[in-house]
Amino acid sequence: MIRDITLGQYYNTDSFLHRLDPRTKIIGTIVYLVTLFLYMNPYVYVFALLFLVLMIRKSNVPFKFMIRGLRGIAFIMIMTALINIFTVPGDTLFMIGSFPVAKQGVRVAVYMIFRLSFLIIGSSLLTLTTPPVRLTDGLERTFAFMKIFKVPVHDMAMMMSIALRFIPILIEETNIIMKAQLSRGADFESGSLLKRIKSLMPVIIPLFIGAFKKANDLADAMDARCYRGGVKRSRMNPLKYKKGDYAAYAMLVLYAAAIISLGIYAKYLPFGNDILGIGAK
């Protein structure tokens, strides 16, 4: 259940992706996510999938480990799909009870499921291959230009890295507290929805108290080291682009170009308009 959330975890191994500069990976992830939202046609999605599979192979993270991340959000995906199926208007395909199901709805639902899956796997690749500290450095440098708009980039990057750092700890803690309450006869699995929510209180309360306590300790520890935010801080390991990064950027440009041309010219290919033959709106 909660263990299945792989988003935000780091997988310690060595690979092409692990060695890349975090900035390269952040920009790569952003480009990838954007391309997912540009077009809705099968060619673009197949190409995006191929690219994703290639990246997973290049990351040395077991495929099973990535898929596991999807199980955690299966509920959200199913809900999104259902909402789309029932709410998007169009040519009626069939009826479920008195609800008409439109071709367009099914189409959007199918794309949504793929889009969400690629989105989750794509962004977990970033965190799985980048240790939190490097990730923060990368974020801070990538978005440093926003400082001219008075955006507190350093503070935001710091907050994010703390949040990422705490995800595995809180998951571990939830597991332990759940087990401790189970051994006191708690039951999280039976009864009505309301009863189940209520049965989670003995887990949530200690979890929150622990989290606040940790936050306090962390603040004290930072204060004791005279942490003052990003003002005039130097870096122990400054970020530097290497050969692999330039290769990665070249690949990224090619990928984006391929997606855009596929998106524009797909309509001349068989089924390019759509699987269900409705055509993109």
Binding site: T13, I176, L182, R184, I209
Partner: protein, 281 residues
Amino acid sequence: MKIIINHVTVEYDKNLPNYSKALDDISLIINEGDFLGIAGHTGSGKSTLIQLMNGLIKPSKGNVYFEGEDIFEKRYDRKTLRGKVGLLFQYPEYQLFAETVFEDVCFGPLNIGFDRKAAELSAYDALKSVGMPDDLFYQSPFNMSGGQMRRAALAGILAMKPEVLILDEPTAGLDPGAQQSILGIIKKLHEEKKITIVLVSHNMDDIAEYTDRMIVLNKGRKVLDGLTKDVFMEKDILKEAGLSVPQVTELCGMLNKKGFPINQDLIRYEDVKRELLNILK
């Protein structure tokens, strides 16, 4: 024979980078009235072994029996089992959640089917037996000292009237006074209420002082099992498992090396003291 663990192997997720067997072909019999110690280095499988005993972790291979019944059989009532085999987790104060200590202690018995009155009586008894002062009964558990919180958590398990009580490092993180008082309570429960005790610890002095029988785990395997005083004579195996002998036994050994004629097979503080006084008389 209260609990039988028969050739049990436990494997966690094989997809993780640092995969290994948590328990490897372990067999163990716990008899009624035992005061059993489980010793082992961090990561030796102690916690896994005790979670197996009250059905929180499923074995990959092998069976666990409680009073002759397989606890992982489909129809087996594990909730009742958790009442009979009470498990106090490490740092149990983090599982407290209710508004008052008394309410928190009632949580377990109410879960396993005590009616309100029986649960309250049992909670009262349990709080008395851990020496909780009356005026703290209706206080918030979060305003108490670490030692008091630990007592409250112990009472929460005792209120379910367990026949077997498993304690995972019950003294970790407490000051010496509180440590002795918790161990004193446990000893009293064993002697007066005839509760079978399983004490997990990596403090060899505590194990020597309180247990009659002990097992030693190393890398998921059981390497020693026998009377506590016999196990502590196996210095080489203990060393290999990353453990030592009790301090007083170490002292006897050192004295002997220097030519002081003292018995080397003593493990308890009082025994060594008596022996020393006898010789020096």
